[in-house]
Structures are given as C-alpha cells and as structure tokens.
C-alpha cells in the first residue's frame, strides 16, 4: 500500500466513524424527527447542513474539472454562477414563504396549495429529480474509491451504498442534519487546504482567490502554446446564448430542488430560515470562489508539465491511468502518436491523452506536489460531499413515498411506526436503484447532475413561485404545467443525448443549437405559460386559500396562517 493509500484510509475511516456515531447519537423515533428533524436545528448548523446537502460530488469532485478541462476556463463559470445564483432566488422568493406555509415537503405544499392530483405529479417529479441527482453522487463515490483503494468502481459504489443506507435509514433527518454539519466541515477543510497550499507555493499569495490572478497571463501563454483556446475570453454568438441557457437552467433548477427546500423546514422559525439561507450561501461561497482557482492552478501545472515533455513521468499520471481515468484519445491505451518521445496533452491535433473531468480536484494536490496526508484528506472530502447529498436526496424520495403516497393515499390510518417502516423500506429501494445506476451511469457525474437541474427547473420552479405570488393560480393549471414542463424537457434529453450513453437516447442534432443541459430553462418557460393559460379557464382556488396565499406574504403571522400551520384549515 502506498503512502497516499494509507493516509486516504486513515482519513476515510476517521471521518466515517464520526458520521456514523453522530447519526447513531441523534437517531429518531417519530415521523416529524425523521422528515424535518422536529424543526429544532440552530441557523448556523442548518446553514452548514444546507451547504453540505447541496454541494454534491458535482461541486466538489467535478466542478473544477468542468471549468478547466471540459469548458476551458470562462465557459465553466455557468456552473459557478448558476449554482450560487439559484440560491438568491431560493432565499428571496421561496424559502421564507414555504416555511410559513408549514408543510414538510414540496409535494406536501403542492397538495395543500393545489390538490391531490397535483401532489401526485409533484411526487413523481421529486422522485425523478432526486434519483437522477443521486446517481451522480454514486458515480462520484465510485471514482474516489476506485482510485484510492485501487478497487473496481463497482465495488466502490457498493461500499458507498452500504454506508449511506446505514446512517440515512437509521437516523432520518435529525441524524442526517448533524452528520451533514460534520461533513461540511470535512469537505471545506479538504477543499481549502490544498488550494491555499498550491497558491502559496506558486504565487506567494496564500489567498487563492487573489493568487490565481497572478498566473492567468502565464496560463494564457501556455494555452496558446499547446493549442488550447483562450482561458479567459468571453463567449460570443451561440456559445454565449447556450451559456445563458445553462446558467439560467442551473439557477432555476437550484431554486426548485426538493432536497434543499425541505431543509428550510428544519429551521426553528421563519427568521431562522432566513438566517439559515444566509449562512448557507456564505459556506457555499467559500467553496465556489475557490473552485475556479483550483481549476486554474491545476490546468497551469498540467500544461507546464506537458510543455516540458514530462507528463508520462509523473506518478499521479500513472495512478489515474491505471484505473482508466486518464486514457489515450480513443479511450484506450496512451500512445506516443507523433513519436516525439513524450506524451502530449494539447488542444490541437497533437493531443495524446484524455483526462477525465472528475479526477482534477482529487489529483490536484498530487499534481501540485503536496504531501500524502493532504491527498488523503481531499479523498475524504470528496466522499463527504457525495454522501451528504445522497442522504438528503434519499430522504426526499422516502418521504415522498411514505408520506405523500402511502400515508395520504393508501393507508391514512397507518400508525407512526408503520409509516416510518415504509419510509425506511423506500429509502433502501432507492439506494439499490441509485447504486445500480451509479455503476452504469449515463454520463460523468457533473453532466448527470446538470440534467437533474434541468428537470427541477422545468417542473417545480414555476408552480412554486406562482403558488406563492399569484392567488388565482389553479390546481389544474399547476398540474398541467408540471406535467408538460417535465415531459418536454425529458423528451428533449431523449432526443439529443448521445445514443452510446443509454439505449433509449436518440442522439439527434439539437434544435436551434440548444444544448440539452440548457433546455431546462425552455421547459420552465413552457411550464409558466401552460400554468398561467390553464389557470384562466379552470376553477379558482377556494376563498380561504386565496386569503391564505395573500396573508403568507404579510410580516409576522396572521390568525389564518397560524391556524393553517396547526392543521385547522
């Protein structure tokens, strides 16, 4: 076992023992504790939990790689702006009002504000969005274990499944919340330490956000020397249009993510919900302003090594090549195609390697020549990010099945114990499905997650905003809007995604040049239009509901809001 593997094992075992202990210590026995932690989590802790819940394997493992490799710098900013910008919408337009409504989950809000048909559609949307997203996490876990334990990705996913299942099923939301607070601490430390160390090493500026400005000019030089496009130039034409669509999709998708919204119910009160949102964006910004620096420094280091002709001599290069995450251009063995005696990583025809986006963050401490313990710490951080999000998503799935389908539709008389059992069983089933899809993922982690955001934007965002701000929005309108938004977006994915990824993808040319990851915004506009038009012609909500929707926006609590929260209306 190499030094890096030993340290990885040490950090992974250490952090996992803490998570499992915390989950065990805060286990719950009633449904309120299981779904929303009994509403008793302080704001900074809730903020950290939101941040961990939301910063997934895509943020931690994939994002810097997307920026540096897939989007070559500037274009990757769509992810940075999209995932953080959606937070502003969530905090300003949705979270405080949904919290005041006093319902557990999105389907619960939809069922209450609209009707039971709309609730069922919302349940389906929540499950589809959450499952798509959870698959991305499982694939990320597979990458981490695959490299550091030198096991097959499949075995890595199985190990991850067992751990998620253990603490999510046992602890419910209360256990998950406190575990996520620990996971946030682990992941942020793991992300910041190597970034600071590399910045200090290369530029004399320990603050990477300032330091990476120092290397941009040199990075631009290397990029053009090796035939890559400019790192900092803005996009124009259809590139700019697609970047706008992708950014907007990620923003509105973030605001409609069911597992993030449920978080605001765990806050003690509306004021605490607002402060949770502030803490969360602060905690998220710490990682998100660092990610582009990790991207720039890693790209800079890789290009320097490639330019010096010593890429194949690096130990990190061999290790990742061994597990198949660095390959030749055709996906096979790495060959010196032009016979110049060196392996070249270049943006031109002379390129001889493909580097998987998902390895950049995990490999960056090794690439930057940092010591083994830091490499191990980053691996533990990646796992923390993936598992914290996976457990939050599983909770959404289980509460949708147990609360919205089983309790509300199938067996309203079911005792608390029975409901908890159904919740746990549905969670276990979801883990199995997610694990299977994680082993056979339809794309790399970042892309899968981007698709989930498209589905969330197209299904939830319009009907949540209209439900809060337009009292005449009708149940039929919302149901039709959600169904059409989800269907048209899913159809566009099936139409355009490469047919090699899954048997049901058609791999056709995009319509009007719209990239599939950016289509969610279009789906959302369609949803808005359908909801508004259908609402004009269908039965208006009851007078009480219209009054409630108005009063939800008054400061403080009116009698009606209070009564509704007690379940008396």
């Amino acid at each position: 076992m190499s030094e890096i593997q030993v340290w990885t094992l040490v950090f992974v075992v250490l952090t996992f023992s803490v998570y499992i202990y915390v989950a065990y210590a805060s286990r719950v026995s009633d449904t309120s504790g299981f779904y929303v932690a009994g509403g008793g989590i302080p704001a900074p802790a809730n903020g950290a939990a939101i941040a961990a819940d939301w910063m997934s394997a895509a943020s931690f493992i994939s994002m810097a790689g997307l920026i540096a490799l897939a989007y070559n710098g500037y274009g990757g900013s769509a992810y940075l702006m999209g995932w953080t910008g959606g937070y502003v919408l969530l905090a300003l337009l949705l979270a405080p009002y949904l919290r005041k409504f006093g319902k557990y989950t999105i389907p619960d809000f939809v069922g209450d504000r609209y009707n039971e048909t709309a609730r069922l559609i919302a349940v389906v949307c929540a499950i589809v969005v959450s499952l798509t997203y959870v698959v991305g996490q499982m694939a990320g876990v597979g990458v981490v274990f695959g490299r550091f334990l030198q096991v097959d990705t499949e075995v890595g996913v199985l190990i991850g499944m067992a751990i998620v299942l253990f603490y999510a099923v046992l602890g419910g939301m209360k256990g998950i919340t406190w575990t996520q607070v620990c996971q946030y601490s682990v992941l942020i430390v793991a992300y910041l330490i190597p970034a600071v160390a590399i910045s200090a090493k290369i530029t004399d500026w320990p603050l990477p956000q300032v330091g990476f400005g120092q290397i941009l000019a040199e990075l631009e030089g290397l990029q053009s020397e090796l035939g890559f496009g400019s790192y900092t130039d803005a996009l124009t034409g259809s590139g700019q249009f697609n970047m706008f669509l992708l950014t907007a999709t990620l923003m509105f998708g973030t605001a409609g993510l069911p597992h993030v919204i449920v978080r605001f119910y765990t806050a003690k009160n509306v004021r605490a919900a607002r402060y949770s949102a502030l803490w969360a964006i602060f905690f998220i910004a710490l990682l998100y302003t660092t990610a582009p620096t990790v991207a720039a420094f890693a790209k800079y280091n890789i290009l320097q090594t490639s330019s010096a002709g010593t890429l194949a001599d690096q130990s990190w290069f061999d290790k990742w090549a061994d597990v198949g995450l660095i390959t030749g251009v055709d996906g096979g063995a790495i060959v010196d195609l032009n016979g110049n005696g060196a392996i070249d990583f270049a943006g031109s025809a002379g390129n001889e390697v493909l580097i998987n986006n998902d390895i950049l963050v995990l490999a960056s401490p090794e690439i930057g020549g940092l010591p083994a313990p830091i490499v191990g710490l980053v691996a533990a951080g990646g796992l923390a990010a993936a598992l914290s999000t996976a457990s939050g998503l599983l909770l959404v799935i289980s509460s949708a099945v147990a609360n919205d389908v089983y309790h509300k539709r199938i067996n309203p008389a079911a005792p608390e114990k029975r409901q908890l059992l159904v919740a746990r069983i549905s969670m276990a089933v979801a883990v199995l499905v997610a694990g299977w899809l994680g082993i056979n993922p339809p794309g790399f982690a970042g892309q899968v997650v981007a698709l989930a955001f498209g589905l969330a934007a197209a299904s939830f965002f319009p009907i949540l905003v209209l439900g809060i701000f337009w009292k005449k929005c009708t149940a039929a309108g919302a149901a039709a809007g959600m169904a059409v938004g989800l269907a048209i977006t899913a159809a566009y994915f099936v139409w355009t995604l490469p047919s090699e990824s899954a048997w049901f993808f058609l791999g056709k040319d995009p319509i009007l040049d719209i990239a599939p990851v950016g289509f969610g915004f279009i789906g959302m506009l369609v949803n808005f239009a359908v909801t508004i038009v259908v609402s004009q012609f269908t039965t208006k909500p009851s007078a009480t509901m219209q009054e409630l929707v108005e009063e939800i926006r008054y400061p403080g609590r009116t009698d009606l809001v209070a009564k509704h929260a007690q379940g008396d209306v």
């Binding site: 702006m81 400005g213 130039d233 803005a234 602060f282 302003t289 929260a565 379940g567």
Partner: protein, 78 residues
C-alpha cells in the same frame, strides 16, 4: 426585493455573460474584468444580496413589532 433581483440578473447575466466580452478589456489584479465577474465577482455579490435581504426583513419585522416568539411553534407535528 425587486431591486435585489435586478442586481442579481445584472451581475450574472449582464456582467458575467452578455457584457463579459466588453468588460474583459479592463484588467484588475491580473483578471480580465468580465472573466472575474463570471468566475468570482457574481458569487460575492450573491452573498451580499442575501445579507441585505435578511437584514431588511429583520428591520421590517421590528417595524411591525413582530417578535421572534410570534414565529414559534409553526412546524406542524402530525
């Protein structure tokens, strides 16, 4: 709140995407400005926007004499 949302759109879609090319002609601390807004600046502005919102809502609550206690007990335990 509409002012906050206008700033939100202006910084991300405006400075970060549609005017990024023009802003890139200005360079500060090694960063072309449009690139900086897309990569860093927009995120910092978002944090500030939420901070201002939370602060404003707290003031509004005080103005209407709403105590934190008025909010308690809202979660409905079934």
């Amino acid at each position: 709140m509409s002012v906050l949302l206008a700033i939100w759109a202006l910084v991300s879609f405006g400075a970060g995407i549609f005017f990024a090319d023009a802003l890139n002609n200005i360079e500060i601390g090694g960063f072309p400005l449009g690139f900086w807004f897309a990569n860093q600046g927009s995120i910092l502005v978002f944090v500030a926007l939420i901070a201002i919102y939370v602060w404003r809502m707290d003031k509004l609550d005080k103005k209407y004499g709403i105590d934190v206690d008025d909010y308690e007990g809202e979660v409905h335990h079934s």
